[in-house]
Amino acid sequence: MVVRVQETGVDLEVELFGIPLRTPLIPASGTLSKEALDEVEGVYGAMLPKTTTPVARVGNPPPRVAETPAGMVNSIGLQNPGVERFLQDLEVFDLGIPLFVSVAGDTVAEFASLCEILSGVERISAVELNLSCPNVECGGLAFCAGASSVEELVVACRSIVGNKPILAKLTNEGVVENARAAEAAGADGLTVINTLPALTIDARTRKVLVRGGLSGPAIKPVALRAVYDVSGVVDVPVVGSGGVASGTDVAEFMLAGATAVQVGTTSFVRDPQEILAEFTAYLKESGLGASQLTGAVRSPDPGVPVPRPKPVHKSSRH
């Protein structure tokens, strides 16, 4: 089932820093592999592959994932083939929609060098800075551990990435201050939020199972508040991310202030087509276009009926 505007009469299109997206959905970085692209035709407004680093990273030793109630903890270690190889294979991610690229490095200079390389690649529409990785020049604290660090990084990238928009992807801790700093430094948009720091322990073996980042529906209320708080203090668009699991969740993030919404971990357990279908049903019932939802929760008179779309779930037998 592929939802199309022509078929539904619903306006799903949004505009993110001047780039039209045919739907407000974007895959969260690191949650949609090239092998799974066939399953998501027509779902996303932009493509966003897994984070790229200057040179290949082998990633962390297993175990890398552990299930938790309504979520999972991961510690992958940014396994990726490096930017050179990534760009050689770029066309596999060309879905005929804007292509955003997530980057990370160990230092400000590494981020800047990536931005310089990507600035010359016409097919890439925007760059997302993964600020959750450790800054080796600051004792391994994450780049988003402080507003000054965020500012320094975004300034360096902004000056070298040319006319491509920059999305700064922020973690929940200090998100409002960091959002202000990123905006002041020239970020064109903010992705809010990344995974939350988390730990799982195997009581049977009495060992740490995975120390990493928590994602999934468990973190949705945290992410929703971050989007709400951030969008209240910045003028640049916010891309909501964190635990989106249904069309209603998409609507909630947009009502809270998001212009677009990332779908991540839930795509492992749900067909993203269903999420788009639910969101489409929500819009149809409310009589609104997708772009009209952004920040509507702050409006003194939302002035719209409250739709309650039924979850779409296709059952079939093989």
Binding site: G30, T31, L32, S33, K34, E35, A36, E39, K50, A56, V58, G59, P61, P62, P63, R64, V65, A66, E67, T68, P69, A70, G71, M72, N74, I76, Q79, G216, P217, A245, S246, T265, T266, S267, F268, V269, R270, D271, Q273, E274, P311, V312, H313, S315, S316, R317, H318
Partner: protein
């Protein structure tokens, strides 16, 4: 990932394990796996992820997988009347003709893919011997489904005392070796297999997505890690850096 709701046709208690059968007409190759979970509306939140299981068998439109109740996810699978599945996933066991006799070695729940593999080997006329290792008698009940198999149990309650390699003895006379079980067992099989035979190992790893997206289920290879859901779960033994 798209899941399909299917009705459980039959659930058979086999000692420590449960064999679950469901209607499935799609193609299934030996060594491939299914991601399965109980049906939620629209998803379940606890457990949140689906679980990977090797196909045990597939015949006449009925597929089956074998599991042991170890936590909440498998406990629910042990009781549900309908489940959600996505399949077939992963790389299959490669069967080559003309290699001579094949040895199939399974450890614990890892005996599962050897059932469907044996059926395919029979159909292709490849002679083979089956060796199964278990912790104890309760786990070994499933061995009744493998006529002629040599069995070992760690406590010696059934068959040879010790590991599956105690049951099989030397493997160097086999032209092909297929194995599934815990990593430590697979490493021992790789060592025992030597270098002159086809040796294919099916790994058991924790998985997040099952479709290559999360990079969670990796195994070590020379030069890094690869995903067991896409590049595996069946690997040529020499590829694995054990």
């Amino acid at each position: 990932m798209k899941f399909y709701r299917v009705n459980v046709e039959e659930r058979e208690a086999l000692g420590s394990y449960t064999l679950l059968r469901y209607r499935w007409n799609g193609p299934v190759e030996p060594g491939q796996f299914v991601m399965a979970r109980t049906a939620g509306y629209p998803i379940t939140l606890d457990p949140f992820l689906a679980r990977p299981f090797s196909f045990y068998d597939h015949d006449g439109g009925v597929a089956s997988f074998l599991f042991e109740v170890r936590g909440r996810g498998t406990a629910l699978l042990d009781a549900a009347s309908s489940i959600e599945v996505t399949a077939p996933l992963g790389k299959r066991f490669r069967i080559e003709l003309g290699l001579g006799r094949a040895a199939l070695l399974g450890g614990g729940i890892g005996v599962a893919p050897l059932k469907i593999l044996g059926r395919h080997l029979d159909a292709m006329g490849v002679p083979h011997d089956v060796f199964l290792g278990f912790a104890d008698a309760a786990a070994s009940v499933v061995a009744k489904d493998f006529p002629g198999a040599e069995v070992a149990t760690m406590d010696g309650a059934v068959g040879t005392r010790g590991t599956v390699l105690n049951a099989s003895g030397a493997l160097t006379n086999y032209g092909a070796i297929y194995s599934c079980g815990p990593n430590s067992m697979l490493a021992a099989v790789k060592l025992a297999a030597g270098k002159n035979s086809l040796c294919q190992l099916s790994v058991e790893e924790r998985m997040g997505c099952g479709n290559g997206s999360c990079n969670g289920c990796v195994v070590p290879v020379h030069g890094g890690y690869v995903r067991s859901c896409i590049e595996g779960p069946v690997f040529d033994a020499e590829v694995l850096a054990w």
